[in-house]
């Protein structure tokens, strides 16, 4: 069934808006409801919207980075920001803050950078899982007889 043009156009329109919103959610998280998880989920929703509108293969090309790589990078990025404290002889992941806030973004410290790591992990994991699940029937189609049995039962849907 051909995908509805209306859905596709709206999806494309929403993409930049939602991504912007997700970054905003991430950065304001420390002071107002938001943060790494919520920002990450936002961005993931935006990408999954593309998947629903255009199908998984298109969604994979929306961002030219492998989502698995992004997830691994997120974990790595999140973990390394605990190390600076260790070098100063403090316990792992102790918060270290820059003296004055960066205009336009706000105070930056290891917790915020850790939150950015969380952000990328969430995007990478959620989107990759969605794409894996969506591509599954295309790569390994269900055995045919399964299909007949399905049609037999009058689908209420």
């Amino acid at each position: 069934m051909h995908d509805s043009i209306i859905l596709r156009t709206v999806a494309r329109l929403l993409l930049p808006l939602l991504l912007m919103l997700s970054v905003f959610m991430l950065l304001r998280g420390h002071n107002l409801p938001g943060g790494g998880f919520i920002g990450g989920l936002f961005a993931a929703c935006a990408l999954i919207l593309q998947m629903i509108a255009f199908g998984p293969s298109f969604a994979r090309r929306v961002i030219p980075i492998s989502y698995l790589g992004m997830a691994a990078f997120g974990v790595f990025f999140g973990a390394i920001w605990g190390l600076p404290a260790l070098f100063l002889g403090q316990p792992f992941m102790q918060a270290l803050w820059l003296a004055d806030p960066i205009p336009g973004i706000g105070k930056i410290g290891t917790p915020v950078l850790f939150d950015i790591g969380v952000f990328f992990t969430v995007i990478g994991v959620t989107t990759q899982i969605a794409l894996l699940l969506a591509e599954e029937p295309l790569l390994f189609p269900m055995p045919p007889q399964e299909r007949e049995h399905e049609r037999k039962g009058a689908p209420e849907a």
Binding site: I5, T9, R12, P16, L17, L19, M20, P103, G104
Partner: protein, 168 residues
Amino acid sequence: MLVLNFVLAIVWMALQRSFSLVDFVVGFGLGFGIIALTQHVLRDLTPVVENGRGKGLGSYPLQTWRIFSLFAFALWSILKSSIEVAQIVVRPKLNIQPGIIAIPLDVRSDMGITLLANLITLTPGTVSLDMSTDRRTLYVHCIDIKDPDAVRDDIKQNFERRVIELFP
């Protein structure tokens, strides 16, 4: 694309609740990054200004006026027809003749079609059901069709005319 970038910068400033230059720079930078990252998705969302196909669309201020007039008209027609539908719902006896009508379209661009379809759906009483594969005809379900042709003309005159000015 540039327009989109500016829009994003403005959105960023609104979100940040501060309109300083620094916020604009940050907003624009972020917008630039996002558009660069996903530009092949956004490629043919032709913004109003750059579309030069025939019809000499006149200058930029005229376009902005048209946007606002479309916006105002939309709000007005939403209110009007929602009251109509409300009456239908409230009246104890339901005498409505719902049905699906086909409307030949002149508008071509994605944005145009989407805007038109959404406007039709938004005005209660009409829901755009589907678009023919060759994007020639739009099928709309109406809650109460006294005279099919009247409805078709009403939609084409009021909505399509205004939309086509913006997104041919």
